[in-house]
């Protein structure tokens, strides 16, 4: 089930809110069971059989967590259970996500004819696997205590707001919330506003941008240079508003039920270096890889530069692969390896304070180049797209399709550009409404735009789910 769907908005969400706050309000246990069952139902909605994969992952990681806690002081035994957890989690990910890719490449490189099984990717497997795995790792390090109740461990992994598109929540972040959260009107209200913001970002901004991006990237005819640029700008906005919109909805719904997730996006497109961009983009993934891969390898506190470069290489290769089993994602990850290595070795971030506009342009140029590789079907399609962008593809500079999409989406493009900077918090600081009427008007405006967004869903406009690869 998608958040940006009418069955979620008009059935699932009100149903869960009603049961949670009315039927189960007197028992935390019942509330947690309700959230767990709802989460499993939410997950099973599209592909019921994959719910079994997730339940298996929950049960085994819960068990690994118990073992990790029990043998925390016995290094040898602990290592055994950690190896088992690693083999299980990475094995699960490998089988469902990378086996086909690996076999296809083995066949291509060695001229073999190994039968490649068709394996469908369980939705959100990268998110819930990373989340479950970090739970075991945190217990082994003594960061948190193991959860004795498998239902609660299950709730942590499968809680529907963050299940299929993140953020990747650490157990320590919500461990207390699971049993001792205190729901209140303020949190609920803030959560609702946050959910609406995310919903509008996804349905009104990301989906409209997706139409342009699809027309440009999936065109079977050569596209003009202008259309290529418009498609790239649209995709740059689409992926940001889609992903951050989902995170907003997740954080908002978490708040509605008393959970407090950490932020996942912080206006990444205002960054003045690629390193800064990654501190602002998909923060939960960046910190996950930092804490569980980069730091354990020594991070930047290593004796030689070559070791630092190696550590960065591993992290960015994994970042690329996490996003999907395709060479495009690998090259995309490695592009960031090169850029971040360059920035780290040259101290780029500390230099040229007066050249910030240029640094911003440099950052966005590479971020957008990265999105071309990320969005393209394969590397050769990415190459063709770069040619179209450069005007060397032999097609016209501008065409009717460019004008059609540009004119029809001008308002959305402007809104995307405007809201990709922290304009709202800037305005909030300067213009705090003094009168209740203003509050009512703003609230009514929110609901009006929500109704408009719902009208897009009911109409059946393009509503892609871009995390199928993740």
């Amino acid at each position: 089930m998608l958040f940006s769907s009418t069955e979620f908005l008009f059935f699932f969400l009100p149903g869960v809110i009603f049961c949670y706050y009315v039927l189960c309000r007197k028992s935390r246990l019942m509330q947690n069971i309700l959230l767990l069952i709802s989460s499993l139902l939410f997950y099973a909605w599209g592909e019921p059989k994959f719910a079994a994969v997730m339940v298996l992952s929950i049960l085994l990681n819960w068990f690994f967590g118990l073992m990790a806690e029990r043998f925390r002081t016995k290094k040898g035994v602990l290592r055994f259970w950690l190896v088992a957890a690693t083999v299980f989690n990475l094995g699960l990910l490998f089988i469902f996500k990378y086996l086909m890719f690996t076999l296809n490449n083995v066949n291509a490189v060695f001229g073999l004819n190994i039968n490649v099984p068709v394996i469908n990717l369980p939705i959100g497997i990268s998110f819930f696997t990373f989340q479950a795995f970090s739970y075991v790792l945190d217990i082994s390090r003594g960061v948190c205590e193991a959860q004795k109740n498998p239902l609660y461990a299950g709730l942590y992994v499968s809680f529907f707001p963050q299940l299929i598109a993140g953020p990747i929540v650490r157990y320590e972040t919500i461990a207390r919330d699971i049993k001792h959260r205190k729901e209140n009107l303020e949190d609920f209200s803030l959560g609702v506003s946050r959910f609406i913001v995310g919903f509008l970002k996804k349905v009104l901004l990301a989906n409209n941008m997706a139409v342009i991006a699809k027309a440009a990237f999936d065109s079977t005819e050569p596209i003009s240079t202008g259309m290529a640029w418009l498609g790239l700008i649209a995709y740059t906005f689409q992926i940001y508003y889609d992903f951050s919109g989902y995170s907003d909805m997740a954080i908002g719904m978490g708040k509605m039920f008393g959970f407090h997730f950490l932020e996942n996006f912080d206006y990444p497109y205002v960054s003045k270096s690629v390193s800064e961009f990654w501190r602002r983009w998909h923060i939960s993934l960046g910190t996950w890889l930092r804490d569980y891969v980069y730091f354990p390898m020594g991070g930047s506190r290593v004796k030689t530069k070559s070791r630092l470069v190696f550590n960065l290489f591993v992290v960015w290769l994994l970042t690329g692969l996490w996003h999907g089993a395709n060479w495009t994602f690998t090259v995309w990850g490695l592009m960031y390896f090169v850029l971040i290595t360059f920035e780290k070795l040259t101290g780029f971030e500390q230099k040229g304070k007066k050249l910030e506009p240029l640094k911003h342009i440099y950052t966005m140029a590479f971020v957008m180049a990265g999105w071309v590789i990320f969005r393209a079907r394969d590397l050769s399609a990415a190459g063709e797209y770069f040619l179209a962008l450069s005007g060397l593809a032999g097609s016209s500079f501008l065409d009717g399709e460019f004008f059609l999409h540009f004119k029809q989406n001008l308002i959305f493009l402007l809104a995307c550009a405007l809201f990709s900077a922290p304009i709202i918090s800037f305005l909030k600081k300067r213009f705090t409404p003094r009168y209740k009427t203003a509050d009512v008007l703003v609230a009514a405006g929110f609901i009006f735009f929500l109704a408009v967004a719902v009208s897009y869903l009911i109409k059946g406009t393009y509503n892609p789910f871009i995390y199928f690869n993740f």
Binding site: I17, S189, L404, A443, A444, F446, L450, Y456, I458, K459
Partner: protein, 408 residues
């Protein structure tokens, strides 16, 4: 504890009202439409009588209903109207949909249309028609293809910049392919000049179909061709416009394209009901899939007109179905006033109105078959009906469907 009312709290209250109203109203609507669920449940249950099979059927019914919740959601029409209004304010002329085939385009004259893609298998489809024609020729039955027009005109498409439509190119190519194979055709597309200039509109503004008066004009043109090339002896005066009276039902119709974008995007259509002013007497049988056949005898109006579709219910009533009840898989009609030949017309929905106006002058018997819905064999029907002529009358959107060109 005193609660300080702020913007977030007001938003939360309104949001809760919004989603719970949606839930409640949709449930009420679903209860009123319980037949739909009963049908679905019965289909899933099949022959099963045990508790597990009933439970399974109930779960699957609930699952499918929720999956298709957009079909039953409360206030659906209001949402679609709101959507259309937003598109209008935003100056959108091409409304993209999940299914690219269904994108709605506003022409320069304000009318709505779908656009069609280039079809690459037209030679194969033309070959099917030619093969069919040859099999009929063995029985001495001639065949002619009638090309009905499309809203996007050949010489003055009126499309917004950046939108392409291949309906006319497809039609040109198909007619050329038929010609190569010796199949006669009548191209009705050039009959309607001035459409884009806004004069003498030939089509409904919010629907893809032609207006009844356009179909009448087309029937006259077809009659001319049948008289000259196929030995018919029709009195074409019977198809002259002055022999008809027009009842205009104002602001009553939101066509199939209009229903996709709401009435605030393109407005609504008047429905001109055109009826002959001379005496007529027909017997007709209308066969629709999964419903009992309808038999009618009487005047043109009593037989061909289904007035229940002349109702101002934009999203639930298709006024085009006033003529011939919206078609169906097979319509057979006999004229008791005018003796004539037997015509079999394989047609899409454009053919409904074309065929019924043609029947006024052609007399005799006419059978109209829609291959989308017809489950029987056309060839066997021909053996039984023994027509004097077979017509195939399609608008250019038919080219994307193989079943229109499969003559079993």
């Amino acid at each position: 504890m005193k609660v300080k009312i702020n913007r977030q709290i007001i938003t939360a209250v309104l949001f809760s009202a919004f989603i719970f109203t949606g839930l409640f109203a949709t449930c009420c609507k679903a209860l009123n439409d319980s037949e739909r669920f009963a049908d679905l449940y019965s289909a899933y249950l099949g022959e099963g009588k045990t508790f597990p099979s009933k439970a399974k059927a109930a779960v699957l019914t609930a699952y499918e209903s929720l999956h298709n919740i957009n079909d039953i959601i409360a206030f659906k029409e209001n949402y679609i109207n709101l959507f259309g209004l937003v598109q209008r304010v935003n100056g959108v002329r091409c409304v993209f949909e999940e299914d690219p085939e269904l994108k709605v385009v506003k022409l320069d004259n304000g009318a709505l249309t779908y656009v069609t893609q280039k079809e690459n298998d037209l030679p194969e489809k033309a070959a099917n028609v030619a093969e069919f024609k040859n099999s009929l020729a063995e029985k001495g039955i001639p065949l002619m293809y009638v090309q009905c027009p499309f809203k996007v005109q050949k010489n003055n498409p009126g499309l917004p910049c950046g939108v392409s439509d291949y309906s006319n190119e497809n039609a040109d190519n198909f007619i050329a392919e038929l010609k190569k194979r010796g199949v006669d055709s009548l191209d009705l597309r050039d009959l309607f000049p001035g459409e884009q200039a806004g004069k003498n509109p030939a089509f409904f503004k919010t629907d893809h179909h032609w207006l009844p008066q356009t179909a009448l004009l087309a029937a006259g043109e077809l009659g001319k061709k049948l008289n000259t090339a196929y030995g018919f002896n029709m009195d074409l005066n019977l198809l002259e416009a002055e022999k008809f009276k027009t009842e205009t039902h104002e602001d009553i119709f939101l066509g199939s394209i209009g229903r996709r974008v709401g009435r605030y995007y393109a407005g609504t259509d008047d429905f001109p009901l055109i009826l002959p002013e001379y005496d007529t007497h027909f017997s007709c049988e209308f066969i629709k899939k999964d419903t009992p056949a309808i038999k009618r005898t009487g005047s043109f109006e009593e037989v061909w007109i289904f007035r229940e579709h002349l109702k101002k219910d934009y999203f639930n009533v298709n006024s085009y179905a006033v003529y011939a009840g919206g078609g169906g898989s097979l319509i057979h009609c006999r004229s008791h006033k005018i003796p004539g030949k037997k015509i079999l017309m394989l047609r899409d929905s454009f053919g409904d109105t074309l065929g019924l106006f043609l029947s006024l002058a052609a007399g005799g018997e006419i059978t109209m078959i829609d291959l989308r819905y017809h489950t029987g064999s056309v060839k066997e029907y021909i053996e039984e009906f023994k027509p004097d002529l077979v017509l195939i009358a399609y608008c250019p959107t038919a080219f994307k469907q193989q079943y229109f060109f499969t003559f079993r």
